[in-house]
Amino acid sequence: MIFVAVGTHPESFERLIKRIDEIAPQVKEKILIQRGFTKYIPKNCESFEFADSLEPYFKKARLVVSQSATSLLEFVLFNKKPLITVPRQKKFHEHLNDHQVEFAIYLQERTGIKAVLNIDELTPELLNSYKKVAKIDKRNFSKLQEYFKRLFNDIAKRS
């Protein structure tokens, strides 16, 4: 199953959902879309608005296609599954600013997780063949956690 998620941001993300709907007939796997506040209802694949947690869908999916949100961090750090991110863009009125573009490009450079900036790059061939699992270097993460452990001990001594 390919799971597509646009999250809970109040602005529409029709660009992604329409594109997936368009290419769905040529994709070999079943596609499920979490469409959030986007009004467009896909005709060629199943979809739903919201769920308490997207975790079970992430678990079931073979491939995840998602908006480039910070909420993906946990997925990026701990799931060993292919991921493609499509950032919401200000010029399409999908977000207030372009921080998702910034994050998507960073993720791609840092981990190899594919960022789709031009929606035409999202092709049936890409979805059918994308199997790349990002390798995450967790050294900076451990370093920050260790720093906080030390910091908390220091503050406790001081207070």
Partner: protein, 165 residues
């Protein structure tokens, strides 16, 4: 005075900011210290709601109204006073905040009580500083960024000690 116990308040708005707090501050990182978590929820219309045993399945979470500060600036004062009361009641020794808007009244409330105030910038900003972080740059005792390149964009006080990614 040396003491073994300490209470930390983690403060972050809903979504990605809260997510980063959850990823970073595991039981292992928190160790023997006590904690509360302060966040926002759209279901809360005024004041705040408390949920027991929710943060790390052990500590209290306080929910404040979501995104209401931007529309009604006077609420900054109201929320600062409410947070001040919570910090006092919970005997907070240190706050750690990841943004966004809620971190401003939280830093002011903490500073007014002499509580050690830590701001950690969001990992999602790689190139451009955001405004709530800029405000907290002046309000915090310790200001951390999650990318080496971001430190210079805020100022000399900004420190890089690692990042989630």
């Amino acid at each position: 005075m040396n003491k073994d116990s300490m209470n930390i308040a983690f403060v972050a708005s809903q979504g990605g900011h809260s997510g980063q707090i959850h990823i970073l501050f595991t039981k292992k990182v928190l160790g023997k210290y006590g904690a509360i978590f302060i966040t926002e929820n759209q279901k809360v219309k005024s004041g705040y709601k408390v949920k027991e045993k929710s943060f790390l399945k052990k500590f209290r979470t306080y929910f404040f109204p979501k995104d209401h500060l931007q529309l009604y600036p006077w609420r900054y004062i109201q929320e600062t006073l409410q947070l001040r009361r919570v910090f006092k009641e919970e005997k907070i020794d240190c706050i750690v905040t990841n943004g966004a808007q809620i971190s401003i009244p939280a830093c002011i409330a903490a500073r007014s009580l002499g509580i050690y105030t830590v701001f950690i910038d969001t990992v999602i900003r790689v190139k451009t500083p955001n405004w709530s972080a800029r405000a907290c740059y002046y309000l915090s005792h310790l200001f951390l960024v999650q990318h080496q390149s971001m430190a210079a964009k805020y100022g000399n006080k900004a420190k890089y000690e690692g990042g989630i990614l």
